[in-house]
Amino acid sequence: MNALTATAAVLSHNPVFGVVVTLAAYEAGCWIQRRCGGSPLANPVLISVVLIIFGLETCQISYDVYLRGGSLIRFLLGPATVALALPIYSNAARIREAAPGILAGVTGGGTVACASAVGIAWLLGAPPELLRSIAPKSVTTPIAIGISEQINGLPSLTSVLVITSGIVGAMLSGRLYEWIGVRDWEVRGLATGIAAHGIGTAQMLSVNETAGAFAGLAIGLTGLFTAILLPVVMLLL
């Protein structure tokens, strides 16, 4: 066995491969974002996902081989989500004060997120299974997959749409609020969490802790609201 095949064998069977690739691509993504003056448009998740998919496709390495290491990093999403309780706790007074606005924002924004996604896809001639899969796309992945199964969508398609929404929302969160004249970090955070779940929350946390707390809160509330709303709406239709 020559050195090259030995290297390839080690890399493809060892979780260290996926971990190193993910960390390296993420470092590259963060470096590019810094070079772009920290612009949200240079989203590190988007950059690293594109780099890794390009690399894996070029070297003909399957997602399963990558995931041996990738799943170790994905695992940390759980404890990180629990840790969102920290910024929420330290902003508890603001959250209590803004409670009516928060509930109204989640109800309004969450409804618009579902209805507009389905409506636009329908106008563009999407098939029914895509319409059902796109409805929960603003909700955090585990909840969205559950909703998609419940309303007979395709869970794998839903997870792609959820990730895409998160990246798009995080990218737009910089300029959009300036254009519509929203300056309050509480409002910016909540709206980003409603539309772009965890990826949007990560972007908000990197700019402002209060915005991050409101975004983290919005992940849970929008998930809950959509999980109750969508199956009921599907029953009525």
């Binding site: 996926g18 993910t22 960390l23 691509a25 993420y26 989203n43 590190p44 690293s48 998919i53 894996l56 997602y63 990093i73 994905r74 999403l77 404890p79 990180a80 629990v82 840790a83 309780a85 920290l86 803004a98 606005g101 928060i102 924002g105 924004g109 618009v112 507009s116 996604a117 636009i120 896809a121 001639g125 895509l130 796109i134 796309k137 603003s138 992945t141 585990p142 909840i143 794998s156 749409l161 990730i163 929404s165 798009v168 929302g169 995080a170 737009l172 969160s173 959009l176 609020y177 929203v182 309050d184 509480e186 909540l190 409603i194 772009a196 990560a202 992940i219 849970g220 998930g223 999980a227």
Partner: protein, 144 residues
């Protein structure tokens, strides 16, 4: 660091169990987040160490979304047929959701603050003070 992760993972595990047993629509980690919030409220805050390593973890939140994002490559065939429809629907509806969520919250905040200011003003009128001497402590105060 180790103790922080132990607490976070215990909350997540408890959340997963509650999710399974109670069939709540929230995911295990999100229920874990609520549990940690309850613990923090009872304890009256987190230790310095816990706060520091928790915040360090949150600083890498976007990293943990990279492997699920790479999962898109598994569905390239599915995406290829409808990619433009999907991308347009996602972009437009994400923008609409952000705008509507922000506008609704901002309007309700203003109404809420205005009604609270009015209550405060009403109280000061009762005390015989001039109504236009609002201290302007509230954003959106109706008094010019």
């Amino acid at each position: 660091m180790l103790r922080t992760y132990l607490v976070l993972l215990i909350c997540q595990a408890a959340g997963d169990i509650i999710h399974q047993l109670a069939g709540l629509p929230l995911s295990g980690p999100l229920i874990g987040m609520v549990l940690l919030l309850v613990v923090l409220t009872i304890r009256g805050g987190a230790s310095e160490e816990f706060r520091r390593s928790g915040q360090a973890t949150l600083g890498y939140l976007s990293l943990f979304f990279v492997p699920p994002g790479v999962g898109i490559m598994e569905h390239l065939a599915l995406i290829r047929a409808q990619w433009l429809t999907m991308l347009l629907a996602v972009i437009i509806s994400t923008v609409l959701a952000m705008i509507s969520g922000a506008i609704v919250m901002q309007s309700v905040n203003r109404l809420h603050r205005r009604s609270r200011a009015r209550v405060l003003l009403g109280a000061s009128v009762d005390k015989g003070e001039a109504a236009n001497e609002c201290p302007h402590r509230h954003r959106g105060c109706p008094v010019p």
